[in-house]
Symmetry: C2
Subunit: 306 residues, 2 copies
Amino acid sequence: MKFFSVGILGNGSAVPTRIQNPTSQIVQYGKSRFMIDCGEGTQMQVLKYHFSYKNLNHIFISHLHGDHFFGLPGLISSFNLYARTEPLYIYGPPALENILNELLKVSATRLRYPLHFHALKGSETLYSTDQFSVLSFPLKHSIPTWGFLFKEKPENSRRLKKSFVESYSPGIEEMHKIKNGSDYIAADGTCLPNEDITIPPHKPRSYAYCSDTSFNPEIVTEIKNVSVLYHEATFMNDAEDKAAEKLHSTAAQAATIAKMANAGELLLGHFSARYSDKIPLLEEAKAIFPNSLLTEQGTVYRVDEY
Amino acid sequence: MKFFSVGILGNGSAVPTRIQNPTSQIVQYGKSRFMIDCGEGTQMQVLKYHFSYKNLNHIFISHLHGDHFFGLPGLISSFNLYARTEPLYIYGPPALENILNELLKVSATRLRYPLHFHALKGSETLYSTDQFSVLSFPLKHSIPTWGFLFKEKPENSRRLKKSFVESYSPGIEEMHKIKNGSDYIAADGTCLPNEDITIPPHKPRSYAYCSDTSFNPEIVTEIKNVSVLYHEATFMNDAEDKAAEKLHSTAAQAATIAKMANAGELLLGHFSARYSDKIPLLEEAKAIFPNSLLTEQGTVYRVDEY
């Protein structure tokens, strides 16, 4: 199975604190890296936590509140100074393209690498390979906002049992056939049925990013059965009115969405600066969805099979 | 004498490192604070080093390279979230106004405090009170760039000698007259000449900020006799060609300007990420201008009388 993870660079909300930076994450699948959001100071967080930009060619910006993209112009500029040559693909709300062009213009920056901008619309597939894809879907916030779903494609072929391979040493062509459902005829003519010598393919893993968003059960269809869900939990339930007013969510609401979506694990983040102790947020979520975690900056979470 | 200082929030150049943030400084004069430049992450540096925004109503942006202003949109936004009501005055290159307006628009931010923008032009007085003023002057860089001079106004009146006040306890009106040059007639009719009972006024102090700039002796007239000069020293003299190409300065060139301007003290900054050890830069500067210092992030430097 390929390595699949999400690393947290910032888990705070709009106002930074000494321990909370604005939002940014790096998703890794195999050797590829993808950035989600790029709040102010993301570059410094990458340095601080020894994260890497290697094979990071796609950046997804959820919406144009500053705490989700004010670090992007600096990162684009630093990539230039690092002598980047690989193309960079940025997916974001339509107005972002003009802003980036304007900032490049006033700073007289001539990029030495190609920058491709894709304006987000409704729900669509943004990126796709044989094994992996990234999809966008709308969230409900005070300005147009998108969530992102990173998902492995289902394996078509079954996997060979290790014990069978060790005992019979089948050839490459034979192994290929067995993976696709054939039985195996041993040297003595015995037929080994496919189901005895193979196991089913891995269940495809997925990671969904939902921030910023009000409590919105409509997104459940987009993220049904997701392995790991990152859902904003800006407030606790005692500030439910404030959450509704600001189109944010509470920890309990995040957990409710995780439960409705039948998620494997819930990662909580986008914490308001008001909570110096976040254990109560975790307890509030766990009461509804036990497999909840508080994200920590600098920590990498594996996206496991559930 | 009023407290007069400059605090360093970032002393690095374009590419941030683990120990160098992009440029920002806070000048304090009495109770007033002034920010110069606002590179990405300035807010986090203010938090980290326990600097204050109290009475910080004026921000001066030297030029539109990202490492000098990419932190400004976030700061403007945080001031709003901190429920600021005092007006904020921003002085910067003309194109900055449109960028800030555009960022406020796309993020649907309605500021709750008045934001006044002043477009920099040639040399001019930007701010002036009875005691203090801030002036701009052009620097020579790859895009339009300004330097700033913060200066105390000369005191018109002489200061009373402590020994005279203690011995004769003059009245308030008498003290006022003596400060303006009168002699003092004691109770026994003796005349004490003004020069015996007063000392000359303080020499006015000043602070000049010159970053980013190529080596440019033309600025010497603008900063002549400055008490403390901050001058960029992106490179060392062995990279003089690179400095010239990028319109930056070397440590030796910064020291030459300090010497030509008859400055009291030279603060070096805007260091290239290539120098992990900065002592050689200091030595290069000291060989030309002995009263040179390497700036440290989080440190506050007093602007003394020289």
